[in-house]
């Protein structure tokens, strides 16, 4: 956001401390979000497929469409806010244009893949769930890496 990107952060110790705290919290939130999803849905593609689409052989019911919608709706909100906050700090870092654009493009693509894969899983089957799982993991890893990169930059007073 503009107020995060308007001043040179290394000159403003208060703003710098606030953003260091925010980045630490967001990185922790991303790790916790990955762990929570791992507990809820499982840690392998098969477990995700079983949770979302069900498995007759193991007597697992598929997730209801309302529960699926509710889960995506709440997840997406937190993830969009996290993206806005981390990307706004990362964009200020002065990394090369290619790297910054790559980061933004990949993050947005993976964040779009997560809900789209889930929503269409009832039509395209397990491929949708795997697309969703891939998007979810890639987005979280990118946010953790972008957050860590910005955090190290801030601690070294690079920007």
């Amino acid at each position: 956001m503009k107020f995060l990107a308007s001043k040179k952060l290394s000159d403003n110790s208060v703003m710098r401390s606030i953003i260091i705290g925010m980045l630490l919290s967001l990185i922790l939130a991303m790790v916790l979000s990955l762990s929570a999803k791992g507990i809820d849905y499982g840690v392998s593609p098969n477990k995700w497929i079983n949770t979302v689409l069900g498995n007759e052989a193991e007597f697992i019911d598929p997730m209801s469409f309302n529960d699926l919608l509710f889960g995506i709706h709440t997840d997406l909100f937190g993830l969009i806010i996290t993206f806005i906050l981390i990307a706004s700090v990362y964009a200020r870092m002065g990394r090369s244009r290619v790297l910054m654009m790559g980061f933004l493009t990949l993050s947005l693509l993976s964040l779009l893949a997560y809900p789209i894969g889930m929503l269409f899983s009832s039509i395209i089957g397990s491929s949708g769930v795997i697309l969703s799982l891939g998007g979810f993991i890639v987005f979280h890893l990118l946010m953790i890496m972008g957050g860590l990169d910005s955090l190290i930059g801030l601690l070294r007073k690079k920007f």
């Binding site: 956001m1 919608l69 509710f70 709706h73 969009i80 493009t105 947005l108 693509l109």
Partner: protein, 143 residues
């Protein structure tokens, strides 16, 4: 090349926010319904605690989201300030009406079911309008 990527990034982000609003709409339609009778039936049966469980996270998160969305609008110089004011006041007014109508319905004021539906649809339309303006002006600025 950079223009194409920036165009894509803006489009992808707009798609994400519109997708989120559409998911909310779909969820509302499936859980509550879109007629005053459905709305009265759904919210009339809810306890105050049940209503607060929905209103509290929405109030908290939508206020942050509106701040993030509207701050983009504030920094675009090519949009008339009056249009910006209209967008800001419409979004916040519709948001408050949308969120707090269920409380009034549960207190027996059934007329607010109509207000709730109008405010809910109005909020989605106003949000689309604001994103449309931001997207169009951003593309002009990038060019």
């Amino acid at each position: 090349m950079n223009f194409k990527i920036l165009q894509f990034v803006t489009l992808a982000f707009s798609t994400l926010v519109i997708l989120q609003a559409s998911l909310g709409t779909l969820l509302f339609t499936r859980l509550v319904g879109l007629t005053p009778h459905d709305v009265n039936l759904y919210y009339g049966d809810k306890s105050l605690h049940g209503l607060l469980e929905v209103i509290l996270p929405h109030t908290l998160f939508i206020s942050i989201a509106l701040m993030a969305v509207l701050h983009f609008l504030a920094f675009i110089q090519t949009i008339d300030p009056r249009t910006k004011q209209k967008a800001i006041y419409s979004l916040f007014t519709l948001f408050f009406l949308d969120q707090f109508s269920p409380l009034l319905i549960s207190f027996g004021l059934e007329f607010f079911a109509v207000i709730k539906i109008i405010a809910f649809i109005g909020f989605q339309v106003a949000l689309l309008w604001v994103w449309g303006m931001i997207f169009r002006q951003t593309l002009k600025l990038i060019k």
